[in-house]
């Protein structure tokens, strides 16, 4: 296991932020921690990266106990925090060389690594410009490059793609996949559920200090209702007939369709069609909606304002 936690707890004064979290993150996998604003994602990252101390719990990173061997942990990890931690008065290349020196890389090796990462993160042209002139997205990429200089085995990324344009985001995703292909473990927090869906091997949802769900994206989606079968009809008469036969439906009169709740199983679909067949109701068109992670997130964290504004 690359990261383990047993009963991780942290409070700020009376405010309990993490209330007994357990984690088991396997080597070479991507783990994604989701949760609404203020749920404690950054706090968890700060604790696991030795920046702040937990109030309780047994924690290991890379097989080393966080409390007893923090320096051994630091020697294996890389961190890109939620807010860029770059040296704004130096240029991009100097930032990377500074990291190379602090990772105690041999000089020539450090230079090679810096050049390689500038290339990989599309910063070659900006390499000699002071970071203060960089855009937000460029800083984000430089921040990640700095994290990668020492080839850490466990990488923490706290909302790494927030503020990136779609192209840079895809680039970042590819980079994360490449890292994992080399056996690196990634601990990722994100606001983009699509991102977790694309990347993560396992996802956990944090709410009110606890993990309210954990599993693969598919497992989580299965846990929430929200899937439906949409049936479209030729006229109102057919729609009314179908609604009488099926009972529990949502009517959408504007486009003459009915939405039937469904768990996505074939048997459910067949039974719906059979019922309509035996009542001789003709369906013009049919489509299936499976729940996405947004549904999961909203259902689990009970955060309805988001749905309203979405």
């Amino acid at each position: 296991m690359a990261i383990t936690a047993r009963g991780l707890r942290k409070s700020y004064g009376d405010h309990v932020v993490l209330d007994g979290i357990d984690l088991d993150i396997a080597e070479g996998t991507i783990f994604s921690l989701l949760g609404p604003n203020g749920a404690g994602k950054t706090t968890a990252v700060k604790i696991l990266t030795t920046l702040i101390k937990a109030d309780g719990g047994q924690l290991t990173v890379g097989g080393h106990d966080l409390a007893r061997e923090p320096d051994a942990v630091r020697a294996m990890i890389g961190v890109t925090g939620q807010f860029s931690a770059v040296e704004t008065l130096l240029n991009g290349e100097e930032n990377l060389l500074l990291m190379a020196d602090l990772w105690h890389l041999e000089r020539r090796h450090g230079r090679r690594r810096a050049a390689e990462l500038l290339e990989r993160l599309d910063l070659v042209e900006a390499a000699k410009k002071p970071v203060i002139t960089y855009s937000g997205g460029m800083r984000r990429r430089l921040d990640l490059a700095m994290t990668l200089v020492g080839s850490p085995r466990v990488i923490f990324l706290d909302e790494p793609t927030t503020g990136l344009d779609p192209r840079s985001r895809r680039g970042m995703w590819q980079l994360i996949r490449d890292l994992v292909a080399d056996g690196v473990t990634i601990f990722l927090t994100t606001q983009y559920l699509e991102e977790a869906d694309h990347l993560a091997d396992r996802i956990a949802v944090l709410d009110h200090g606890r993990l309210v769900a954990e599993g693969t994206a598919e497992e989580l989606k299965r846990r929430v209702p929200g899937g439906s079968i949409a049936l479209r009809f030729a006229d109102v008469a057919a729609m009314d007939a179908a609604a009488r036969v099926l009972g529990q439906v949502t009517r959408h009169d504007d486009d003459l369709s009915l939405h039937v709740p469904s768990d996505g199983a074939v048997a459910t679909l067949r039974s719906v069609l059979n019922q309509l067949d035996s009542a001789s109701v003709a369906v013009e068109n049919l489509s299936l909606h499976t729940p996405d992670l947004d549904d999961v997130f909203l259902a689990l964290t009970g955060n309805m304002e988001r749905k309203a504004s979405a």
């Binding site: 700060k46 990266t49 030795t50 920046l51 702040i52 061997e69 320096d71 051994a72 630091r74 020697a75 990890i77 961190v79 925090g81 939620q82 807010f83 860029s84 931690a85 770059v86 040296e87 704004t88 008065l89 130096l90 100097e94 500074l98 020196d101 602090l102 990772w103 105690h104 700095m146 020492g150």
Partner: protein
Amino acid sequence: MSTRSYAVTDSITMLRRDLKKILRYPTSVIFIVGFPLLFLLLFVYVFGGALGTSVANLGNGSTSYVDYIVPGLVVMTAATGSLGTSSSVNVDMTEGIIARFRTMAIFRPSILIARVVSSMMQTLTSMALIFGVALLMGFRPTAGIGEWIMAIGLLALATFALTWLGVAFGVAAKTLDAASNAPFPLIILPFVGSGIVPTESMPNGVRQFAEYQPFTPIIETLRGLLMGTPIGHNAVIAIAWCVGLSIVGFLWARKNFNRDRTQ
């Protein structure tokens, strides 16, 4: 695993980082030198005519006001340097770069060691500049080589103390505003001491404060070394203050350094 074996390497890396930033953006040097320099010009050329004749009786025959005021303004440079240190340390703490360093397997004290060394280099260079301008303005110290060495030693010690205080302010402050306001009284202290006019000329109360605050013995010792005025107990008191302030600054900085100041 111990990071102690990296103590020297990491301190040099950090020092190189600090110096690179100072040389590339010398704005803080301009502030550190500019403030005392402004007062030097103001007091010598504007108020000097009025103050000079009444103040500048140094007891060694010199009647030039510039000879009186230079020691106070050079010591003030240690205070403006302290303010510069406080601000830049605070920026490092809150902008997250120190947080990044703290997640790395480096010799952690190297961050502050390098900061103190680079700040001292910056402040001592600024003092040399003030001396240079003062010489052009007619400052004529009577010190021999031995006195100069002692004077430089004293200034280095005072700078060391005020730099640690600056680091402590910078680490303790939650915002940059707080970090740059907290050391401000240090800049005013030479005025309410023997920096501009002798304490004997001050009203009671102010005078007592002036005589017991740390800058007065430091300024009096420096003036004695440079101009040959009597030093008396001032040297011992000055050294005691510097050592005391260094210890306070160091302990206070160490206490807060491991706190997380990022968002």
